[in-house]
Amino acid sequence: MAVRSAGFAGPVHEVVQKDHLVSVIVSASSKFDNEVPDLADAESMEQLSDSIYSAQITLTSASKISKMSSVRSVQTKKKKLLHLDRASMGIELRSTVSGPRQVSETGKGVLIGIIDTGFDLSHPMFRTDAGKLRVKALLDQTQASNPEFTTSQLEKQWTGVANPDGPGSDADGHGTHVATIAGGTKFKGFEGVARDAKFLLVKTDFINTDKAVSWIFKQAGSTPCVINMSLGHHWGAHDGSEQEERLHETLTGPGKIIVVSAGNERSDHIHIGGRFVKNQVESVPFRILRPQDGSAPFVAFTLWYNELDEFDFELTTPTGDVLDVPNPGSAANFSSSQLDVEAAHVSGSGADGTSGKVQVTIELNSSSAPNSLLNGWSIKMRCETAIIGRVDGWLNNSGFGEFGPHPFVEETRTLGLPASGNGCISVASHVSRNSWDSDAGDQEDTTILPGRTSPFSSQGPTRDGRQKPEISAPGQYLVAGLARNSSLASVQERALESRRLVAIEGTSMSAPMVTGAIALLLQKKPGLTRQQAIDAMQASAITDGHTGPVWNPAYGHGKLDVKAAIDSL
């Protein structure tokens, strides 16, 4: 006799025989240990805790066990949905997990530029249902000659799924994941936001991203194009004055839009900021972090203040040596056999030359430098003249060092560059799911709450007070394309290698949600400008009990609602 599987593992409606193996969780008292029934060879049971057992058993055994007095419950393990189910629902692309798209736009006729670690073009999410590549062109900046590849060249060299090493290949996995979020073809139940857009791809060296943006827009010509940059740094003024940020302002316009991730540094203690009164002195401790790759420790930080003010700065090493930072226009050095320190004081930096800037670089000469050289640093700031009176400082990026503890350590103003520029739309992240399946079994992050801002998501505003990020989108956790043989494929708790999917988080993941959404907006209105896209998303953004009043530093103008944004055009 066949029984319907309702309540047992396997897809709903699947008819399961009584000897079919099902995966269950058994909750039982301590007596159960002595009462476990004999299991058949194909069955198995593992004790996970004092009272919880995981088992793969037949329906007959499950029924028998559920009737035992020592057993509290027998529950089937629930099948996880391995696609952007909640994320696509979260941006109102779908009303239910498996329901149809609520918008007719699919990105057709629009180009999506992705600047990232590389791309596994053997992945079906880069191809049409007929197997044709959806990539218009690819630039590889990691090769000395910066080779470019046309669609036909890529088709010839990416000969199939067994060859993950064609031009622009992705040893890291980040770029494949990002691109397939924005525009992946439907695959194993998942599809990107703009599934019919075509790609312009840049495998970048992470330095010449300015050239990458220029190349993509040149390739796009008059075709509407949105570029995604899930990358950034903090070595700059955070006021939109960096040349790359100004370049973005020049290159964007009708039908040309750039999206940048806000950054993941909210909780990384990379920013200090505070207001001084005359003669106030603050000494902020910091430490250098040991690189995980075994290279010699290195850190840089920049401090910014208004030129109307006057400050004295002093750096103290762990050994008690004091390096006076000279007056604007000069630099000072401190060297020993173990480290090199440089402190430069510059005036006239920042937007319109209105800022003073101190840049400190510290380089240890050996990867085996003792911890005593990493800890115990401090920067002392003394305010001589306070008109504006504010100082902001950033470490060059996450993972190089940490400020604090000190009251000046802030979670706001952790939005990075080039996200702080006026030529882009910057994107924060909120939680869309807290569980997923993986090669190491079911995973759950109990520390986060769906709907709430991601604890890592960098916050605005910019140093000059502009309201960035503009929007928040699902970025924790997103399941999308996995590059074969990549670093991500080896992270068993995240990857589902056999299904070519991986679950990761970051504003790297929320940015391409917005990039895909803008591709849909561009399909409807090819001449859309950056400001019009912001206006459409702002007017339609979701606000709720998590966001509170908007604009705010964590969510910007609220959560992305792509259907309402399209309807508003």
Binding site: I207, E244, S487, G506, T507, A511
Partner: protein, 85 residues
């Protein structure tokens, strides 16, 4: 991919990627010519007023007389993959 060595202030003879914006006395074309004369490589005008090139320290310092100069900074992917758990 190694994203660690971010120290980008170049040794005297090594080139580093930088952006150049002409000051009021120079045009883009004049800056391009000037950079090529000073052995800069990969010189490219990305947009009006934005020139990308690789140059050594001496060239970078000299260029400050004719243009604003900014060393390109290394970015990092805004990834998750376990670092946040």
């Amino acid at each position: 991919m190694n994203l660690r060595p971010v120290k980008q202030e170049p040794p005297e003879d090594d080139s580093v990627a930088a952006m150049f914006s002409p000051n009021k006395d120079k045009t883009d074309d004049e800056i391009v010519e000037w950079l090529k004369l000073h052995n800069a490589t990969d010189v490219e005008v990305l947009a009006e007023g934005f020139i990308s090139a690789c140059a050594c320290t001496a060239t970078l310092k000299a260029a400050e007389e004719v243009a604003s100069v900014e060393i390109k900074r290394q970015k990092m992917p805004r990834r998750g993959a376990g670092r946040r758990r």
